[in-house]
């Protein structure tokens, strides 16, 4: 591969919806598996999922129906043997993925480092870090 070829995926996880966090982690883990670097910038509702015990707490983006829809989808996912979000997040970190936490969201939502899974976070940062990562990326997504 040429030195100047872009080989990174940078994803903004803005939504905290369960299905969208799945999409972010699946794409990121796919990129890592195929030899790319990957980072996920967690902001706004996405950042809620990095709170301690928060990863699985997101609603379904459509037809959540006060949790009934989510319960049905989770049951289907279990029957299809879909990996848990926790496993996907652990795989992401094991394969060298970077977790970036938006410090402005922390400020406006009153979230402290100790509220988050600090051991998983590579950096607390802002838009400049995202842009610097994204400009080197072949894939960048806003989810």
């Amino acid at each position: 591969m040429a030195d100047n070829e872009k080989n990174k995926a940078t994803i903004i996880a803005h939504s905290g919806d369960m299905d969208k966090i799945y999409s972010a982690l699946i794409v990121a883990n796919g990129a890592l598996s195929m030899g790319m670097e990957a980072s996920i910038f967690f902001t706004f509702w996405g950042l809620q999922r990095l709170k301690k015990d928060g990863l699985e707490k997101g609603p379904l983006s459509k037809m959540n129906m006060f949790g009934l829809g989510k319960w049905m989808v989770k049951r289907k996912m279990k029957a299809s043997n879909v990996a848990s979000l926790e496993r996907m997040l652990q795989d992401f970190v094991e394969l060298g993925g970077k977790i970036l936490a938006c410090d402005m969201t922390m400020e406006i939502m009153g979230i402290k480092k100790e509220d988050l899974r600090d051991d998983l976070v590579s950096d607390y940062c802002a838009v400049g870090t995202y842009v610097n990562e994204a400009r080197e990326s072949a894939i960048t997504l806003f989810i």
């Binding site: 591969m1 699946i26 883990n29 598996s33 043997n81 094991e94």
Partner: protein, 73 residues
């Protein structure tokens, strides 16, 4: 040279791809990683990853619904 087996039978996207990558990262150069699974797309996509990683795809075989992919690091 070690031979590393990865069993992904019954696993779905993205687990076979991710488990293959995890095994390849841990393998030493020259080691063989053998992955078996049933997820149809992974049979096509693991070879894509092997190519992207610049490794050697030794063989892809089928036994019923189960595929077997052998890779040399």
């Amino acid at each position: 040279m070690a031979e590393i087996k990865v069993d992904c039978i019954g696993e779905t996207c993205p687990v076979p791809l991710v488990e293959t990558r995890k095994a390849l990262r841990k393998a030493e150069p020259g080691d063989i990683v053998e992955v078996i699974g049933t997820h149809p797309s992974s049979k096509k996509e693991i070879p894509m990853a092997v190519k992207a990683l610049g490794l050697e795809l030794l063989e892809v075989t089928d036994e019923g619904d189960t595929w077997r992919i052998r890779i040399r690091k």
